[in-house]
Amino acid sequence: MKYTTFNQEKTNQLDEPMFFGKPVNVARYDQQKHSIFEKLIEKQISFFWRPEEVDVSRDRVDFQKLSDPEKHIFISNLKYQTLLDSVQGRSPNIAFLPIISLPELETWVETWSFFETIHSRSYTHILRNLFVDPSEIFEDIVDNEEIKRRATDISRYYDDLIYATQLWQTRGEGTYELDGEPYVVTMRELKKKMYLCMNSVNALEAIRFYVSFACTFAFAERELMEGNSKIIRLIARDENLHLTSTQHILNLWARGKDDPEMAEIAEECHEEAKAIFLKAVEQEKQWAEYLFQHGSMIGLNKEILCQYVEYIANQRMSAIGMGTPFDVTSNPLPWMNNYLVSDNVQVAPQESEISSYLVGQIDSSVSEDDFADFEL
């Protein structure tokens, strides 16, 4: 089905599924099929921040004091996060926008991706402060085998969905042979690709950042690289919100609250989706091993980091009905929580940021009691 940027057919957006219904026409937010996405948009906008607001100049001095293994840990994590946000800054837009049918979901995806671009910009901000020329770091992202292996897994479900959507939009359903490869394009296959892709994105938002976050906050516990830590706290807050959105999408499907066919697919592909999550967990543990190959850093080692990944994975998997496959009963890094509290995030001292402040800041309800002690 050909995509149109303004579908002139009259549609009732309240009857459309999240994906693969009629293209969105009017961007209206007065009514929503799934109001959660409208709320997420408002919350995300209230989080707006700019990397330049965070002073990272002291980090340069700290960085020189780090041991070589610690420098390796710090820089490798930045490279990996740069990869993740490079993918996330564009892919939800390219993969999901052409097949979305609800205005609130369309705008949520755009808002989400936009914030990932802020994250990407913040890595440049951090690296420009540490190196006169950060090119070598950026260039290694496409050379480094460890990063490339992760990039392959992160992008393949997006790429699959994007290509199948392009075939469907230009040629319709059918079986095609392109460059000697057969492609079966049916609505069922498209929806399956959609489901697996959303699971892959969910796993990314759920755990792929957390090894890196833990290292950053472990440096901050030693009062090192604190500018970087402030930025990562802002990023972590955004990522938590993004995760909430993918969990909602997966659960809306699984519970039959959206497209009934997606509920069938969720059941049919449950094991495959779980395998995607478990592979991400495995890759994160391997990443911890790669980080500490030249030596550990104070307060963290490979074992404890792997336990933390399993702990977080249990929580995130149970949220989408995948159970708790790992045997970790308590949080191995309890101090991490202090860095993930939303309101502890503070950009400038004069701007202590209460995120609820921007949403509904005016209290317009006045009762008679308010005038009880008022006399003329």
Partner: protein, 90 residues
């Protein structure tokens, strides 16, 4: 255990029974009693503190954005409005 009007019993399965505090969220009440609960945002959008509620009811101080099942609550942004029974899986 007798409680005042705005205080409710919070029974935590396999652990202790404590009393709620009108000025504190459920998470703050639990922390004040040294009950370990996982949390991140403390604002209802991340879902890290998701907890099973077996009986009773809560009022939300902020609209929870995180996904929660019908039998789950977010202690970071709610207060009990009756006696409640909860199960904390760390």
């Amino acid at each position: 255990m007798t409680t005042k009007d705005d205080e409710h019993r919070i029974e935590i399965i396999d652990t202790v029974t404590i009393t709620s505090h009108a000025n504190k969220t459920l998470l703050e009440t639990l922390e004040a009693q040294n009950v370990e609960v996982q949390y991140h945002c403390r604002e209802g959008f991340c879902g890290a503190c998701r907890t099973k509620i077996l009986s009773g009811d809560v009022d939300y101080t902020t609209d929870p954005l995180a996904f929660i099942d019908d039998d789950e609550i977010l202690p970071c942004c709610c207060k009990p409005n009756s006696d409640i029974t909860i199960k904390i899986t760390p």
